[in-house]
């Protein structure tokens, strides 16, 4: 259990940084958005990991259960954040599509090159 907990946090850190790497190192705008989604997923994972209680079950009352429940609050926050996340990603993709139409490219360096002219 101890190991699994630490492992969850390490995966959170690594996943967060993989996403961040895609955002800062890649020039392709869609790839940047994919990186941002990974980054976001890592944060979701951290929240849900923190809400877990040992021997607990999902916070839904039932007759047969241990009576120990995991924390419902992080779950509520992340549940709404996932849907908000897809909406904002869609907005980002919309902007990328418009950039492609105006500049003919979705590579950051090419767009900056065109802007400088």
């Amino acid at each position: 259990m101890e190991l699994l907990g630490l492992y969850h946090y390490w995966v959170f850190a690594i996943l967060l940084m993989i996403g961040f790497y895609a955002v800062i190192a890649k020039l392709n705008l869609v790839k940047k958005l994919i990186g941002l989604s990974l980054f976001q997923s890592a944060v979701f994972l951290l929240y849900i990991t923190m809400g877990k209680v040992e021997l607990g079950t999902a916070p839904i009352f039932s007759d047969s259960g241990s009576g120990i429940f995991s924390n419902p609050l992080p779950q509520v926050l992340i549940l709404t954040a996932i849907v908000v996340g897809i909406s904002t990603t869609a907005l980002g993709l919309g902007i990328v599509v418009r950039i492609k139409e105006e500049y003919g490219s979705i590579e950051e360096d090419e767009i900056q090159e065109i802007d400088r002219r």
């Binding site: 101890e2 699994l4 907990g5 630490l6 969850h8 390490w10 959170f12 850190a13 940084m17 993989i18 961040f20 790497y21 895609a22 020039l27 392709n28 869609v30 790839k31 994919i34 989604s37 990974l38 997923s41 994972l45 849900i48 990991t49 809400g51 877990k52 607990g56 079950t57 999902a58 916070p59 839904i60 009352f61 039932s62 429940f69 995991s70 924390n71 419902p72 609050l73 992080p74 779950q75 509520v76 926050l77 549940l79 709404t80 954040a81 996932i82 849907v83 908000v84 996340g85 897809i86 909406s87 904002t88 990603t89 869609a90 907005l91 993709l93 919309g94 990328v96 418009r98 590579e107």
Partner: protein, 324 residues
Amino acid sequence: MIVMFGIFLLTLLVITAVAIVRAENLFVAVMLMGIASLLIAANFFILDAADVALTEAAVGAGISTVLFLSALALTSERERAKSPNKVLSFLVVGAAALVLIYATFDKPRFGDPQAPVQTHVAPWYLEKTPEYIDIPNVVTAVLGSFRGYDTLGEVFVVFTAGIGVLFLLGRGRPSERSEVINENEGLRHHLIPRVVGRVLIPFILLFGLYVQFHGEYGPGGGFQAGALIAAAIILFALIEGEQRALRVLPHRLLLGLMSAGPLLYGAVGIAGIVLGGNFLDYSPLASNPIKGQQLGILIIEAGVGITVTGVLLSVFHAFAARGR
């Protein structure tokens, strides 16, 4: 057993994430994102977050993939393979990862019932839900009632993002929209997807409605149901062609749904004031406060579901119309 399974899932997740970033073909990257979402959803389930797992599976593995693919169809599928500051970025990211991992050793033990996060407001929610609201699913109770303001805000963010996409991409030129249905649109000429789709779509819709209206008793609620219903209709649009989907749910109706949800949610809040309570206080809505709370949650969850369905479908059609 669970420990091993968790470690297995998380390791697969990291491998998938590395593959996503390394993939030069963006189509591959998007497909791998779907797998990553499914792995995360399975992991949420292990961590007792059934509601979140349902949402992640419907949104991450379903709708997100479709949106990324429609964006790829409008841009380009290949990434040019050069990152000028690869070494520098790698150093920055590596250093930050080490700091983050160092910080994890100070975190409370995994699953510790005495951790600060478990002893703050969460016990109050668990203790008071039966007394004030009397529904089994505490997540729905917190989402709909105790933290109704948050959820109202989130619904407005979803609504705003939908409006933003429509402003950016429009919804196709009017002349294009009224065209006659092209028989070869979508996957109509492929027999297997059509037959499978025809069997699956009614059940996905039914499941969506179940998740919507059973959210008080089991995992579910407006956010999940909205995503599921939108996924079913997007599947219909992919198989039968976008024009046919627009005949079933025209743009005007989708716009109506988009704005009806937040309005319904806000109206419930104001009804609370009119009937003598506070904004978003559902207790005065019925003769007894518990019944009022349950009624309020049912209505606002419907509002959430309507908004999410409307926004996701409008966004999908906006991308699809741009491609024609």
